[in-house]
Amino acid sequence: MAPPSRFGDKAFEWLTLGMALVVILLVFLIGWQLARGSTLAIQKFGFRFLTTSTWDPVAEQFGALPFIYGTLVSSLIALLIAVPLSIATAVYLTELAPLWIRQPLVSLIEMLAAIPSVILGLWGIFVMIPWLRDYPFPLFKRLFGWTPFFTGPIYGTSMLAGGIIIAIMILPIITSVSREILRSVPNLQREAAYALGATRWEVTRIAVLSYARKGLFGAVILGLGRALGETMAVTMVIGNTPQIAASLFKPGYTLASVIANEFTEATTDIYLQALFEVGLVLFGVTILVNLLAQLLLKTITRTTTTRAVQ
């Protein structure tokens, strides 16, 4: 019997290799398209694009500082809310919860992750914003009105509302990645702490959390990456006003939402170029944040693979 032809094997290997290499191609494609689309704007505005805050399509002056500010502040608010809740939930799910409740809770969190951004935004506009405007916001104003962060009129659509909706969007990802990290902590760690007479919380704190610190940090950074790029839900509740204001009750604007709102309205070439440059800034920042997150997470999760044929 003749040995099987080698040609089919080679062809199939090259075909799959080509498909795998598409991911590298895609990274370059994004970078190249965004850079090409914003060449004129980069030449015209230079570094000023990142440091000035005039966004005036009529006068053709473009500075992206209000969007950078809005993206950073809304993401920071989101992290402040989401990180403690997510990590506490991950701890509950891996260390403290009764076994029968764990899988149903994980499924519910996966369902939350599956809700599209635009639907959360719809809920934000018609349910969350009116509620925030009537109850929590006036309370914050009464309690913390002496700080610059909670002053001025309350409209509802605001930087704070944007941060809250982003927090809801990144809760599931930080929770599920943190849970994976905590599950990868060897049981020997826990057993050693229990043997010393530690309580459940002491075991978690001493043996689990300190062991998983780096990985948890990775989970947070991954959440930050998602927060920075979150588009639809934020666009629907943040107010879309390019300004830099200390008060979180004032409307803001983010890099992603200015693209979503103004891209189809860009009537002049330089306007479109400026929006491409906003996209380039967003891509640059999220790629760096995601690189950092993956590096932090890579050290924890096991990557060893075994194969029959090498």
């Binding site: 032809s5 795998a20 991911v23 809920w123 891209f263 194969r307």
Partner: protein, 288 residues
Amino acid sequence: MTMLSKRRDQHLWRKIKSALVSGGTFVSALLVIAPLGLVFFHLLANGASSVNWDFFTQLPKPVGVVGGGMVNAIVGSLELLVLAAVIGIPVGVLGGVYLAEYGSARGNSMLRFIADVLNGVPSITWGVVVYGLVVLRFKGFSAYAGGLALGLIMIPLILRTTEEVILLVPNGYREAALALGIARWKTIVHVVMKTASKGIITGILLALARIGGETAPLLFTAFGNRFWNHDLSQPIAALPLQIFTYAISPYDDWHRQAWAGAVVLVIGIFCVNVLVRILTRERAPSTV
């Protein structure tokens, strides 16, 4: 004596602290799933009554005319998903096969790393890229552009899930097939991929559910359309886009329709997720 009671007090305090923290983490878990319950409740309260026969059979009505439906957006979304699948599935699945079956450990871990980073790229970025690549070049929004944007988002998602499930196939299967003198590629296609087919399909379904709700990449590629699309090189309606347009409009009747659209979209996505759960009873997939 006093020392002993002091120690006992300390022990009691440690136990109380442990219980308090446990309670705190439990409350956190409730807070994390609270938005899910709230969104569901309001979706049903505001949207369920508007999901009727008209919604699935009528085109959108002009401003001021009450009624109408979103049939064109529902069909448009399905068309976009098919276009995306044509691009995303072959590239993602075959790329995943490569990572699991061929290549060097080092090169593959780099490819895996890049795929993970790509998964973190904001979806609106893909819209901008496809705008530059297709819309500017062919001078117009089109269903093709929207499908391409969604298809590119699918690639790294499917690639990673395919790789994971193929690695779960026991080596004995490969060895048995190779020992029979079957060519390597036939072994992979007919034995390995066939064994892993349930898992591969699961990954594809999850990716479809994910992109089915995407709005940002469609804003300036598929663009939306108030009428039927008869030509894929023309703008096309999509359910998430229609929900967005109606949600930010000033008309009450459009708000009502946006809620109805949201109910339909969420039910569609959740049906896929339930299907996936049935397919993978033995091993729950993680959504990262």
